[in-house]
Amino acid sequence: MKRVRRRAGGWFRAVYPIAFLIAAGCLTGVLTGGEGDLAVVGGKICTAAGEPILDGAVLIRGGKIAAVGPRSQVDLPAGVRQVNAQGRVIIPGLVDLWAAIPGGDAPGGSPELRAAESLDPYAETWRRLLSSGITTAMVAPGVARGIGGLGAVLKLRSAEPASPEELLLKADAQLVLGLGQAPPSLGAPSLTTGDRLEQYYALRGRFTAARDYRKGWDDYWQAVENYNREYKEHLSSGAILAAGASTEENPEDRKPDESDEEKKEPEKKDGEKKETEKKDAAGKGPRPPRRPRVDPGAEVLLRAIDGKLPVLLIAHGQVDLRHAVRLRDEFRLRLAIAGATEGFRVAGDLAGAGISAAVGPVLLTGWSIDFLGHRESNAAELAAAGVPVALCGLGGSAFPSEALRIEACVASRGGLSPAAALRAITAVPAAILGLESRIGTLEAGKDGDLVILDREPTDALARVLGAVVEGRIVFEKERDA
């Protein structure tokens, strides 16, 4: 069976709808209903929100789940395309917290770097992710330099998206940071162990600098208030007559000063402040304060400090995990941890601080000093301590997102209950991304993202037969396989 793999050119567009119809026809009988309307009927539904529903049905209308329940209780409107999932298992679309950016493990390095800007819609990755049941994934800059950047949450609305926008669900979803040492291919910092302390202080220094930066602006706004008040006084006293001429300077005189200022902004801040407060001797009126420069990086960190931007910190070793807790406490970050290889050693701290942990890798297949304390029961132990546990890929080629569901199987081998293992790759990561109201479980009102398996989700031999995103079938395994 020849499969249409890639939308390569304009002539191809004619073929595509036909292929889609064929693909849909394999799964379904009826081909009517609106865009984003679909009913998956029969099969066992693991909603990730409650008990599994045997012989259930999911109705999706307009891309949203309209009803979930036993088949007898779900009212299926005529004309809605039905997928027969008899004997199958239906789970919510999987959510991967950290998928690799196609085209290489991109190191970030600055808070304002946006993963949304390195999306390649033509990459092979999207089909691969869908074929492994992942419908939502965050891609983020690598954290090899401590600070990664802004991660973007993607909804895989198509295996062959036409544009980056088609993929984007939330552009600047998380600030991604890293501590510790893992192989560079894992996107974690590549520093020697001796540098860990420095690493932490470097990271902390960025946050304190951001606070200083805010103070600079606060001072400026204060100076503006003062200036405005003085200016009004001058105006009322009649000192300013020719408004335009009063403050006008020869631009040429100003220029060297300005370019100088651009380069040496931070050092000059104090001097400037005095300057602004100083009244002009000639009595031309108050001198307007000079505006500090906008630092996009610091602005991002400030949003994190203000709790407007959640932070995902990649850390494996227990030292780094403790640092993560300290960082969170000091700057009141909305922080979740990814990696957490030695999380079981600090499970109490994490639980006490209310930090969620996305564990990865669960199945150890590579090596790094950070994985020294690795054990398969890590996720289970964290869960036992009361930490909300998710599982994640590691943003690199060594731990691909395709294995997310296998990781869940292995986590359940390590003692995580199958239900918790399923939640760890659906509802919990959705909550970490702040998207719990839209994705992560099969409940009425949420996005119609689901995956059809041929076995239980915690069986590694289960294969993804189909994936539905927002009511549209976006992936289907060949019939013959």
Binding site: A8, G9, W11, F12
Partner: protein, 463 residues
Amino acid sequence: MKSTDLVRNEEEPQRTRRTQRKTRVTSVLLCDPLRPLRLTLRRWFRGATRALSFAILAASTSALPGAQETILIRAARVHPVSSGPIENGEILVAGGKIAAVGRSLALPSGARVIEVPGEVFPGLIEGGAALGGGADEFRELTPHLRVAAGLDRDSRVFERALQGGVTTAAVTPGGRNVIGGLGVVVKIRPGRRAQQDVRVDAFLSASLTAESFAGNMNLRGSAPFTFYHRIPTTRMGTVFLLRRSFFEALGLALPAGLEAPEESTLGQFLDRSGKETLAETLCGARPLRVRARERQEIEAALRLASEFRVPVVIEGFGEGADSIGALSSSRSSVLLSPLDVSIEVPFDLTRPALRDAHRLPALLDAAGIEWAFASGSAAETPLLRERLGLSLRSGLTAGRALRAATLDAARLLGVSDRTGSIEAGKDADLVAVGGGGPLDLASRVEWVMVEGELLGQETGATR
């Protein structure tokens, strides 16, 4: 597959034979230094080749599926190369072989008919390119190494070459070693096996070009930390090593000056199997191929050829216009680079000798010297047909260029009994182009057939 190995036990019996050889050689050194040696070795070798070709035949008939179909090809024009073009010609292919060529052939029952609106010609033959494997760079003299042994037959370059109309290729070890090893002639066919090579150990490759010493480092005192600490580091060194190896291989006393001092740093000596391979080659078991492009390299190659009375195949020969006289006296032949022959090349004219490169085909033909094309690198092989088309700018006729890249190349590589022209009894290695002639740059390869199997069919733009 013992027969393909050409291997003898490195034990006792050899030694006696060798000593015998040596004594006989010294006694007749004055008349023809090498004649007796040549005779004995040649006799031995003939037996070996016979066994070998039989083995190949057995392998190729048994293990090739899908080539048994009978196909009649009708084309607007057929270029058999061995004879003039046939308008509205027909080719009957049966069992992977060409059964008949001509006009209005009888259509056997059950035969499949392929209509070609364009022209059909024999599959092109790459006269020599390093298509993978490469030479072993740990040593500079590796005559016994077989390119065939290290060749990745699933390399993409073969598929791409096939799409360009190249069906047979001589694979060389490249030019990094003074003596690189034994080349192989392969049919390009996906999934092909080593046992199905058209001709193993087809030639011995040596190199006198700058590649053989460029990048090598002089060793001064310290222990070598990389294998680029090897000789030669100069062109003189390259020629020295080659000449010394010849003497060594033939068991001749080294003339004064070639004898290495104690604790020689002047590179390795040949080991036993290396000597044997080289000796066989010098005695005519297979052609000796020497890469030489610049004038002094060509001169050195020809000097060696006349010194040791052995014909050489010179690969490159771009600056060889002045050396053609010496070439014909040593019964040597030439593999030209299509790019050298193209007129576009010497646009900077930095080396005046290259100005004559495009004229070489005419000069060689006038002197009656055998020549063919070798594009030299894996990147160029898929472009062979295009580059041949480009070489027509020098005034070379399309027919002559096509013959050089098919029948002449097959003869030079010793595979003209199998391929190189469209004649009854030969393998059905065919290329069909639409539109213009075989080497017309604007025409496109429509399909390629190797041993009766249709391959590399193009269906248009992205599929």
